[in-house]
Each structure stands twice: as C-alpha cells, then as structure tokens.
C-alpha cells in the first residue's frame, strides 16, 4: 500500500481497514491479521498499527482482546453507519475538488451523469 506522506499514517491504516470491513473482505466478528502481520504487509511500524487499532477499538468497530488479537464488531448497524461515513467523506472530497474547478453541486451532478453515460461508449 502506498501512503500519502502528508496525512498521519495511523489514520490511513484506519481508512484501509474500514474499506476492507465495508467491502466485506473482513467479515463481522472475524479476526483481523495480527499487528506484526499488518505492519509488514503495509510497511509501517507496529506502534503505528497499534495506534490505528486502538482508535478503532474506541469507536467500537474493532474489539481488541488482550492476547487474542482484534476482532471486527458483530454490530452490523455500526458497520453500515461507518460505510455511510466513508461514502460521505468521499463525496465531500469529490465535491470540494469540483468546486475548485468552478462547478456548483448541480453542475457537478450533471457532469457526472454525462460522464457515466458516455463512459461505456469508448
């Protein structure tokens, strides 16, 4: 995984794991890979992974069980809510970048529709 160098790494690890959970690649109740495994896979250090997991534990998305590892919550509502948050974040980033191009949200929507319709043609 390539990290952006100007955003705290632990936040990027959180986002990465949220995506995996939102996409169902890691299922509710399932154990996530060990801290060491994630550190090597993502080329980050274990303290940074631990910090990301602790934050997610505080939010309730993960349950860190001492000595056993970290497990995804069984609370489907919470996962759905998190997924909605991710969608919202992505939308707001997208709207911000179109705003910088001088587009209003309505114009953005029109352009987006147009783009999606034409995309199949090429």
């Amino acid at each position: 995984m390539e990290f952006q160098d100007n955003i705290p790494i632990y936040q990027q690890i959180q986002k990465y794991l949220y995506r995996q959970i939102a996409l169902g690649l890691i299922k509710p109740g399932e154990k996530i890979p060990s801290v060491r495994h994630l550190a090597v896979e993502l080329t980050v250090n274990v303290n940074t992974v631990q910090r990301a997991l602790n934050e997610m534990n505080n939010e309730g998305i993960l349950e860190v069980r001492r000595g056993l590892g970290s497990f995804v919550t069984n609370d489907i509502n919470l996962i759905t809510k998190k997924r909605q948050e991710l969608i919202k974040d992505t939308m707001s980033e997208f709207l911000e970048s179109t705003r910088q191009l001088g587009l209003t949200p309505e114009e953005t929507l029109k352009e987006l529709k147009n783009y999606i319709e034409k995309r199949g043609e090429n």
Partner: protein
C-alpha cells in the same frame, strides 16, 4: 523505567572545535526514530558518543538506564561492525568472529537475515559491493538481541529494492521493546515506518517530534525537514 536512551546536557569538542552542545534527548522503548541532519551536522558523532566510541564528551549518557561504557556497549548494537576486519575474511569467518565476541549474537537470526539479504557464507569481504557490505553490516547489527540499534546511514549507496528488503527485515525481526535509531539526510522511503524524528541542527537537537504529528500539519517529513533549512537557519 521506560527510556531506552537518555542523554542529558551532552556536549562534545574535537580539537577545540565545538561539534555538539546541550544535547538532551529521551527515546522510549520500541520506537523507530530517524536522526536527521545535513552532512557534518554531527549525526555519526552523536551515535559514537552513545555507543561509547567517542570519549571525552561532557554530560550523561544512559542506555537502558546504564551509564557505564561496558554496560552500554552490551546494551546496543551499531552498524560499524565491519571496521577493522580483514578483507580476506569470508562471511562465515565474520559470523564466527561475531559469535565469539557477542554473547547475544543470535546465529539463527543471522542465517535468516543472511538468506533474506541474498548473501552466503563463502563470499569474501573483498568481493562484496558497497551495497552488499551494507547489507551484511545490517544483518550483523540486527542479529544481536539487544535494546538499542544504531544504524548510521544504512541506506547510502543501496538501491531501492535492497532498501525495501532492509526495511522489511527491520519490521520483521525487531523485538517489540527494542529501539532503533536510523540516521540519514532524507527519509523518503523509510518515513512510513518512523515513530519519531530527531533533527540535529546548529550543533544541537533542533527538533524532536512524532512523525504523525508532522503529517497532521499536512506536511511530509522531508518537506518539514527541508523547510527548517529554508526558513533562514543560522548559516
């Protein structure tokens, strides 16, 4: 006692020239720290003071709580390992030398690292390229089971793929409580593995902060570091 390294009011002169002054630094257990500074800023000197190779400094240096130089040396491992070894030595001879010299030298660990770095016993030091020597030094340094590792510019003259291998080997084999200090003049490839950065400038510790705190300001570590020099240093 959670500090693996503690420096208090350390200063160092060489030939009456002040090299380092008022160095105060505490590094906790398990941290991976970059020691940054221009060439000649005193990074190597600081490591040599910590390891006990540079003498006649003023101030207090503690490694794992120990001030005594012999105890300090037992508690740390530094990448100046190949200095003074005969060029005709094979890697196997170097390995045996380390085995006899350090009681904490873990031969199994070394074998793993050696394979990982694509080195083998029959190779002679004189045949090794700069990059391979660097890899051997790192393998030797990391094979000791100790509290503090001092890696002095381990990536200079090493290609990108080899750097990645070395970084991975650090992540794979580091004991959770062991502290690693890596000196360099830029951090680029290693920035994702860092907990903290320490910047040496104007002969002292100019900044010491968490890597993610720098990023929280929207800056990469290299940007932050370079900006310190652009914002009108004393030179």
């Amino acid at each position: 006692m959670s500090e693996n390294l503690e420096l208090e009011n350390v200063s160092y002169k060489k030939n009456r020239q002040e090299i380092l002054k008022n160095i105060n630094l505490k590094i906790g257990k398990g941290k991976i720290v970059a020691l940054l500074g221009e060439n000649g800023a005193g990074k190597t000197t600081l490591m040599r003071i910590i390891s006990g190779l540079a003498k006649n400094y003023h101030g207090i240096v503690k490694v794992n709580g120990e001030q005594d130089v012999v105890q300090r040396k037992a508690n740390l491992s530094m990448t100046d390992a190949l200095k003074g070894l005969l060029e005709s030595y094979t890697i196997e001879q170097v390995k045996n030398f380390f085995l006899s010299l350090y009681s904490d030298f873990d031969i199994e660990e070394f074998e793993k690292l050696k394979d990982f770095m694509k080195l083998n016993d029959e190779m002679k030091l004189s045949q090794l390229s700069r990059g391979m020597k660097q890899k051997l030094e790192i393998a030797l340094t990391l094979s000791r089971k100790t509290n503090l590792y001092l890696l002095d510019e381990p990536f200079s003259g090493i290609d990108v793929m080899a750097r990645k291998r070395i970084i991975n080997s650090i992540l794979l084999w580091k004991d959770p409580d062991a502290t690693i200090i890596i000196s360099d003049h830029f951090v680029n490839e290693i920035s994702s593995i860092l907990d903290e950065i320490v910047i040496i400038k104007d002969k002292t510790i100019y900044r010491h902060l968490s890597a993610d705190d720098v990023r929280a300001e929207g800056k990469s570590i290299d940007q932050y570091y370079e900006a310190l020099y652009e914002d009108g240093g004393t030179e």
